[in-house]
Symmetry: C2
Subunit: 296 residues, 2 copies
């Protein structure tokens, strides 16, 4: 493998940001809603979902650009979820990635609507995928999986369970339900979408889905560890804010040492599942390692 993860990441992040900006800019819509959408889309972030999608397509030895529309859709849905989660009626956060949150800049009404617009547009982007890159059947399969991963049976359901679980002590299965849904299913969709776009068989889809589930849990455990250990400067939000909110976290349930052990276990399981696919999963493996040791 000649190409490093760094250059793979930089190239695809640039493609993604250009695609998102161009897509929003061409909308015939009031400028304030476009500004609000772009403010949050361009706020940076790891772009982990698009990168997982591109890396999965690369594992099948196919052209990654066939995933560009779906990658933009994924990042738009992730971004809408952050905008809505940050609202005063939800997590009431003033900072996101070191910048004022969307509603702090544009007000609550436009923040709600920017989220709504991003969610709505994401489905159009998938449907608009170039017909050379996806058949109608493939696009519909993507839309069905995407909707499940993002909606009441996935991300929204996880956020509901998260809110319902605030201020009470959760069991480990309850905490895992929240994270598998709130974060895990959209992460898993990133990988599954790459498999669908690459025409994967059911067996490989299954291994990749299991890979993504372990990756998602590892991701969340690392998040919880960072929230306790990280510096405010690094992660761009109040350190220990979950603790302030009395939220159950992996370190609070498992101890810090136990959380670190669980992180290692899920990371190893994720990599075992990757090996099962028999694909050239270099970038997926590198992303898995990177997420386990990241400092923000």
């Amino acid at each position: 493998m000649q190409e490093s993860l760094n250059s793979f990441t930089e190239m695809h992040k640039q493609l993604l940001v250009e695609k998102m900006s161009e897509s929003v800019n061409r909308l015939e819509a009031p400028s304030v809603i476009k500004e609000s959408m772009l403010y949050s889309l361009e706020a940076g972030g790891k772009r982990i979902r698009p990168l997982l999608l591109f890396a999965t397509i690369a594992a099948f030895g196919q052209e990654t650009k066939k995933g560009l529309n779906t990658a933009a859709a994924l990042e738009m849905v992730h971004t809408y979820s952050l905008i809505h989660d940050d609202l005063p009626s939800m997590d009431d956060d003033d900072l996101r990635r070191g910048k004022p949150t969307n509603h702090k800049v544009f007000g609550e009404a436009y923040a709600v609507l920017a989220g709504d617009a991003l969610l709505t547009y994401s489905f159009q982007l998938i449907a608009d995928t170039d017909s050379n890159h996806a058949s109608p059947e493939v696009k519909l399969a993507l839309i069905q999986e995407f909707s499940k991963a993002a909606g009441a049976e996935g991300m929204v359901g996880g956020q509901v369970a998260d809110i319902a679980g605030e201020e009470k002590q959760l069991s480990l299965p309850e905490l895992e339900y929240i994270h598998i849904n709130k974060t895990g299913k959209l992460l898993a969709f990133s990988v599954i979408a790459g498999a669908i776009l690459s025409g994967a068989d059911e067996e490989r889809k299954k291994s990749l889905t299991e890979f993504a589930t372990h990756l998602g849990l590892a991701f969340q455990i690392r998040d919880d560890i960072l929230d306790l250990e990280g510096s405010e400067e690094m992660i761009g939000k109040r350190v220990g804010s979950d603790e302030v909110n009395k939220k159950s976290t992996y370190p609070s349930l498992l101890t810090m040492a136990g959380a670190k052990k669980a992180l290692e276990e899920h990371t190893n399981l994720a990599k075992e599942k990757l090996a099962e696919t028999g694909l050239d999963t270099f970038f997926l493996g590198e992303i898995t390692d990177m997420l386990a040791v990241r400092d923000h």
Copy 2:
């Protein structure tokens, strides 16, 4: 035409409500989000968008049940828009259809999330349409048009312009921009979706789109007239609330007599466009008349 509009309406409303309830009930999701979604879906209302869809398919002499998934999607998106519009950060309404608004019952966080879940699910419902009723190409065309009508270039954009225009005197073109986008485009999609599902040619799609645009404006003018004239009991919200909010309305821009004249003109233009199609548009014509004289 043997069947009356009343029996057509009752039969299709029942099919619609059953479809929506069954669809939400089978979701594997926390019960509170399903309750919140169902609360607003089952709150009644005219179901005008689904009825327009069914009536359009009937005009083509086709089986209306082929539109059931899209009808449910339409009503879910309309319902999500009401839930979000009623939020304290937007119109801050306590009553909707004579019942407490969603956030008054479930709280703001769950109201935002119920809206998000309904919007997300609507795309899945279209994608899940029985393959005997729509080809993959037809489903994708529906999703593309639906997304445009509901998003920044349609309903969300109209709501943004509506908020931006509060507390200032609007011109008639500005007021029409708001209504064409906020209400008109989803009403138009209801008709266009029926045409797409029925395999209409471009010329008929064009006539039906123009029909729906005039219908949408007539609908909004009637709304503004009712808001001034209607009784609180009939329309289930504070009478004159637009006036209290200092919003521009058709009667405030055109006088009450002028608004009534504009209502009549748009109703007549709508019916001219219907006649152009050469289809059996009995139900579409009846719905147009009904909307022009409705008292709630």
